[in-house]
């Protein structure tokens, strides 16, 4: 593969040096091909985002249209001084960190299994592993809810030999157990996604490198740490970024299982409650904008500090060059 050979700098210089007629035609063709999609994306995302930012500067309740009032950054001040916001941000960060970390480990294991599986089994194995990911989140949330529900669930009966679990345990009544079930369901459902992304990364690791390592007498552990993982760093980072963004916006599981009780309210739930249940469009928009800013921040951190290159799917810098 060409991971190590490519260097972006000369390419840029070449482009600047003067475009040939063919080059210009290619650029034009590129815009013609991507332009419509670009415009549509802009109109369906930029407009609502701009509208939300605009609305967030008002005190505006849907059922009191006459009382709409400009409050500037007042809504943001309320948000940032309110413990309810910090609490839900904390829960959201906790869910993001824990689920992504666990999913990464489990997903890597599954990817290895899929990668190593015999050709005959591979198709079936991949399908089986992907099943949870194919289930609609609301449906899986209900399934998990009824599994753990104190009135109709079977977990309390099956696992009553485990200390702490018994017929009287209401999983959704207190924070530690409630958040555990929510995170477990999230992990169960999205690990296949990470596994699939990592599998793609594993497939990109050149066999020659592994062979060479083996010839040099590297143990399995060394092959992993020195060859496989460094070569699939880009895939890992993309998987982490995608899942982190996804996990940060967690909604369905919490909505179905606790509806925010027992201190499990997450940020998107707070935005939903404010703008949809309370019909406070101004404050709700402000929370949505904050949520959006958080998502942007995660993206920025990932790209700036971990050098995730979404365009090529491979690392922009030669991996071996630093030594």
């Amino acid at each position: 593969m060409t991971t190590a050979a490519e260097n972006p700098a000369p390419a840029r210089r070449r482009r600047r040096a003067g475009r040939s007629a063919r080059g210009r035609a290619e650029v034009r063709l590129g815009w013609l091909l991507a332009g419509p999609a670009f415009l549509i994306m802009l109109s369906v995302t930029a407009y609502p985002i701009a509208q939300a930012i605009f609305d967030s500067l008002f005190s505006f309740r849907l059922t009191a249209p006459g009382d709409r009032e400009f409050v500037g950054v007042g809504n943001y001040l309320t948000i940032f001084t309110d413990p309810v916001f910090w609490q839900s941000l904390g829960v959201t960060v906790l869910v993001t960190v824990v689920t992504v970390a666990v999913e990464l480990v489990l997903g890597f294991g599954l990817a290895l299994v899929m990668h190593r599986a015999l050709k005959a089994l591979r198709g079936m194995l991949r399908t089986a592993i992907l099943v949870p990911y194919g289930i609609i989140t609301v449906v899986s949330a209900f399934a998990w809810y009824y599994m753990f529900d104190i009135n109709s669930g079977f977990i309390n009966v099956w696992f009553d030999w485990v200390p702490g679990i018994g017929a009287d345990l209401d999983w959704f009544a207190q924070f530690p157990t409630a958040i555990t079930v929510i995170m477990a369901s999230e992990i169960w459902k999205t690990t296949p996604f990470i596994a699939l992304l990592l599998l793609a990364g594993l497939a990109q690791v050149p066999d020659e490198l592994l062979e060479a390592a083996r010839v040099d007498g590297a143990t399995w552990r060394q092959q992993m740490a020195r060859v496989t993982i460094p070569n699939m760093k880009a895939a890992i980072m993309v998987a982490v970024l995608f899942r982190a963004l996804d996990a940060f916006r967690i909604f369905d599981n919490v909505f179905i299982m606790t509806n925010g009780s027992a201190g499990t309210e997450v940020l998107s739930m707070l935005a939903y409650k404010t703008s949809i249940s309370r019909l406070e469009i101004g404050m709700g928009s402000a929370i949505s904008v904050v949520l959006f800013a958080c998502v942007l921040l995660i993206c920025w951190i990932a790209i700036r500090f971990f050098k995730v290159d979404l365009a090529s799917g491979t690392d922009a810098k030669p991996t071996g060059g630093k030594k």
Partner: protein, 454 residues
């Protein structure tokens, strides 16, 4: 913006499939059918011309056992071509019904001809003039014999803004065997204290709703109203000036009852997820003793006994009484529920819509709705129907309860107040009668001033 994907998925569960607005109506579909027929090349008569003359009234209804749909069909027939009622189903959950109605009304949806509205949400929709004014003759014809509690719930600022359809109230249901063993006399009014004492002595559980949901506000409000007090001092005050009186002797007494049930575990281990249905299941089981619940439990318990999912003798062991008192000397004020019918201000046919409403709420229709769907009428006359006494031996108790029932706080900011109560009064075992009511009061003020999130 935050997560359109999961938002969409979460809402798909309950939103009706039919799109709103003009195109959603019969005419729109006719246009589409005609267009489709043209495209197909066949110019067959589509039958639209004749039907298009009858204006279509859309009735946004809460899910039930098909009773409202049946009334819609009957009134359409009676109208003889003057209008046609088409049903559009709202979500199952009352707060979600409110969300959809409010969003559609605020957006000026012209298809909001008839709406089934839960009483506590009426002021919020009436205050910004989202509802078409009730014509005097309709008001007169439909509220002649409406039971007091139901009538109170249909008004806002002393004006009738919706038409009462069916009314709901809670009774105290009890297991005869438990009461007998405890030696409690159920022929007269009983108090919460007596009920709790019996449950504690007999080591049984109470069927109450401890889940963080609307039912919590229903309960708290009934406890305070049963002491002749109300949660809000001045319901029509603007947002910044509304305050609740949870921190009062009546509020403290209410909190003490809730806290005792929580502390002593009288509601069973699953109290935090106990809604109306779960508490009914608990009541039907071996641990059942008393339960406060809506009359649907009677039909549901009988059906379960017939199907064999519960012991066939359970229905015979069930008795009923008026909602428990807080003070021995003050009559209880049971919760009020039900559905009122409103007409959207932007409806294209408000006159026809009110004509249809008049047809829907006729006493014989209300009586039939009770018999077929288990939802009690709001009209006194409807209770006279012989079919009711046959199927619902507790019909008189329901009627009495409806006369004493107290609506939940009537204010455009009901949702904020209810949510605050739900958040502060759950879980039950964390209620501190000394501090919880005061905290909730303070929170309501801050939230309504826009100084806090909820």
């Amino acid at each position: 913006m935050a997560d359109p994907d999961s938002f969409g998925r979460a809402m798909d569960v309950s939103e009706p499939i039919r799109p709103p607005g003009r195109l959603g109506g019969r005419r729109g579909r006719c246009l589409l059918t005609t267009a489709a027929a043209l495209i197909a090349g066949g110019l067959l008569a589509s039958g639209c011309a004749a039907e298009a003359e009858a204006p279509v009234l859309t009735w946004y209804m809460n899910p039930d056992d098909g009773g409202q749909q049946m009334l819609a069909e009957r009134c359409t027939q009676e109208a003889d071509g003057r209008y046609r009622i088409e049903a559009s189903l709202l979500p199952r959950d009352a707060p979600q019904q409110r969300e959809q109605l409010a969003r559609r009304l605020a957006a000026g949806d012209t298809s909001m001809d008839i709406m089934s509205i839960d009483p506590p949400f009426i002021p919020e929709l009436a205050e910004p003039d989202f509802l078409a004014p009730v014509p005097e003759d309709v008001a007169e014809a439909t509220t002649q014999d409406t039971l007091d509690g139901a009538l109170a719930g249909a008004q806002w600022n002393d004006e009738l803004v919706t038409i009462p359809f069916w009314a709901n109230t809670q009774l105290l249901w009890y297991r005869e065997s438990v009461v007998e063993e405890a030696g409690l006399d159920m022929s007269g009014p009983v108090t919460w204290e007596q009920v709790m004492d019996v449950a504690a002595e007999q080591d049984k559980h109470l069927g109450v709703q401890g889940i963080r949901a609307e039912s919590m506000t229903v309960w708290v409000n009934a406890l305070i109203a049963s002491q002749d007090e109300q949660i809000i001092e001045d319901p029509s005050a603007p947002a910044g000036e509304i305050s609740t009186t949870l921190d009062s002797p009546a509020g403290t007494a209410a909190a003490e009852i809730l806290a005792r049930i929580g502390d002593e575990g009288l509601g069973g281990p699953g109290i935090a997820s106990m809604d109306e249905n779960q508490s009914m299941l608990l009541f039907q089981g071996e641990q059942g003793s008393f339960m406060v619940n809506w009359p649907f439990v009677w039909a549901a318990t009988n059906a379960a006994a017939e199907e064999g999912t519960i012991d066939a003798e359970v229905p015979e062991d069930i008795g009923w009484a008026q909602y428990p008192r807080v003070d021995e000397g003050t009559p209880s004020a049971p919760p009020l529920g039900g559905i009122n019918l409103g007409v959207g201000a932007d409806s294209e046919h408000p006159d026809l819509a009110y004509e249809a409403v008049e047809c829907i709420v006729r006493p014989e229709h209300q009586a039939e709705y009770f018999v077929t769907n288990g939802n009690p009428p709001s009209s006194a006359e409807a209770f006279e129907d012989p079919r009711i006494a046959e199927d619902y031996p507790m019909a008189d108790a329901i009627r009495e309860s409806l006369e004493n029932a107290a609506p939940r706080p009537q204010t455009p900011y009901y949702n904020e107040i209810s949510t605050t109560i739900q958040e502060h009064y759950t879980p039950l075992d964390e209620i501190d009668p000394e501090s919880t009511p005061a905290e909730a009061d303070e929170y309501v003020i801050d939230v309504l001033r826009g100084e806090r999130l909820l």
